[in-house]
Structure formats: structure tokens, C-alpha cells
Point group: C2
Chain length 135, copies 2
DNA sequence: CTGGATCCACGCCGATACTG
DNA sequence: CAGTATCGGCGTGGATCCAG
């Protein structure tokens, strides 16, 4: 069977929120990553998505289903079981996510440095020089 | 001198708003594209950005300056003149925008088809089959 | 377990008016 | 020309409760 999702697969301390690239809405990119290695159940996806509510998760998944990014399979059991899986179209987003990650590794520190320098400049604090690949 | 920006460089009928990829906030990606071929003045950028208000444009530009994506140069003249230019860091976003465009050419029609089929399904209308690279 | 239904807080951003 | 100031709508998404 598929290994379980790492609850910490999205490090809350990772500054990805500063990333100038976004895949879909707030959660879509992370959901794609959750489904990367195979189908997952609703509550399984929910775990790494620290604090997403059921409402928002089901809304996001339905929007993704509507756009043909995932397929939803409901089993008429009790308790109910529903599984989500990436479509080939959904899988094409993985390459974009990868591009975003590559960019982020190469350039996000530079952006963060610039932001910090800018804000220090506003408060009149002199800023120690930084060395980054760009700039 | 640099040729003027095409007022229609962002076709309002282009379904790019359905794109599941976004660079920065709502306008950042388009601003980067406006600055691709050289420095531009405030009102010059404003033209292709159909309907952006001065307030939002200056806010967006200041955020981009803060993040080290553009440099702002003000000339102490009258009337005032201000120019914006991409930094090397800002230029790195061009490759990402290109990746998004490539994805869009290859897969956005599929996504739009799926969306249309989904919504037709909701209204009980049968949907004529479509042929797209994915799915 | 997998959501739907409601209510609400917040932030983006557009409209409008004004300024150096 | 290049902004700033202020107001407000509207949509996203969080909290909470409820249901099959």
C-alpha cells in the first residue's frame, strides 16, 4: 500500500508564502503534491494541510474535479469512503510545481533578503550587506 | 527608443484568468511582461493594464520594488518622471512566465473543456465529445 | 467519515477625489 | 505626471454546527 502522507510535508516555517508563484488557489498546489504518488482519501489529504477545514477542502477538490484535475470516486459503503486521484491533466501541473520549486531554491533567498533590507531601510536601521546569487 | 507598449498586449478575451498558475498578485506577471524589453514610465505601464487604477499600480510596483523585482528611478524634473526597470531577480520570473504560457498552450483548452462539460452535466445537458491532448 | 449549511472576518482592489 | 487618501464592495476562506 501507499505510504502515509508525512504530516509535516508542508513545513509551516517554510517561507513559501512569499513565493511569487501560485498554482491554482491557496491549496491546489499542495493538494496536487498530496496526490502525486497515488489516490488518497479525504481525511488523508487533510492531514498535511494543517488546519484546512472540511468545507474549504471539499470546495477546492470540487473545483479541481470540475477543471478535470482530479477524479473523485465515492464507494457506497458505511462509513463512506471517497478517494481522489490526479488525472493526466492534473499530473501536468507537477512539472510547473517543480519549476516553481527550482526557482524558489535559486532565487527566493534573494527576494527575502531584498524584502528585509527594504524594511530595515524604512526604519532607518542600516543593513548588513548580503551576498546572494542575483543582484 | 523603445517601441511603445501595445495597448492590446493583454487580450481581455484571453482566458488566462482560468489559468491555474499565477505570478505574484493579480498584476505582477503582466507588469513583468511590460518591463521585459526595457525601462518604462508609470503611465506607460498603465496603458496595457486596461483599467488598473493609479493606486493599485503604485502599490503593486512598490511591493515589487520591496522584493527587489524592479528598481524605481525618479527624476527631479517638472513634470515629474519616474521609470521602472526589472532587476536581474525580476528577470528570472520571465522563465516562469514562459513555463506558464507553455503549459497554457498545451493544456488550458483541456481544462476549459472539462469545465464546460462539468457545468453542462450539472444542467442535465448532454455534452458533445471533445478531443484534447490530455484526458 | 465526508461533507453541506451558515455566518462572519479580513484583505484585495476598484471608484473617486485630491496633491506636489 | 505620478502619485496619495479615503471609502466601500465583494470574494475567499475560517469557525461552527449539522447531516447522511
Amino acid at each position: 500500500m501507499l505510504p502515509e502522507l508525512d504530516p509535516d510535508m508542508f513545513d509551516p516555517l517554510c517561507p513559501s508564502s512569499a513565493l511569487p508563484i501560485q498554482i491554482g488557489d491557496k491549496w491546489t498546489g499542495m493538494i496536487v503534491l498530496c496526490l502525486e504518488h497515488g489516490r488518497r482519501r479525504f481525511n488523508e489529504i487533510k492531514v498535511p494541510l494543517r488546519g484546512i477545514t472540511s468545507k474549504v477542502l471539499s470546495e477546492t477538490l470540487r473545483a479541481m474535479e470540475r477543471d478535470g484535475l482530479v477524479v473523485r470516486t465515492a464507494y457506497p459503503e458505511n462509513p463512506p469512503r471517497v478517494e481522489y486521484e490526479l488525472t493526466p491533466l492534473g499530473r501536468t501541473l507537477l512539472t510547473l510545481i517543480d519549476a516553481a520549486r527550482t526557482w524558489s531554491r535559486a532565487h527566493l533567498p534573494t527576494l527575502l533578503d531584498a524584502r528585509q533590507a527594504y524594511e530595515a531601510g524604512l526604519t532607518g536601521q542600516p543593513v548588513p550587506p548580503v551576498t546572494s546569487p542575483d543582484r
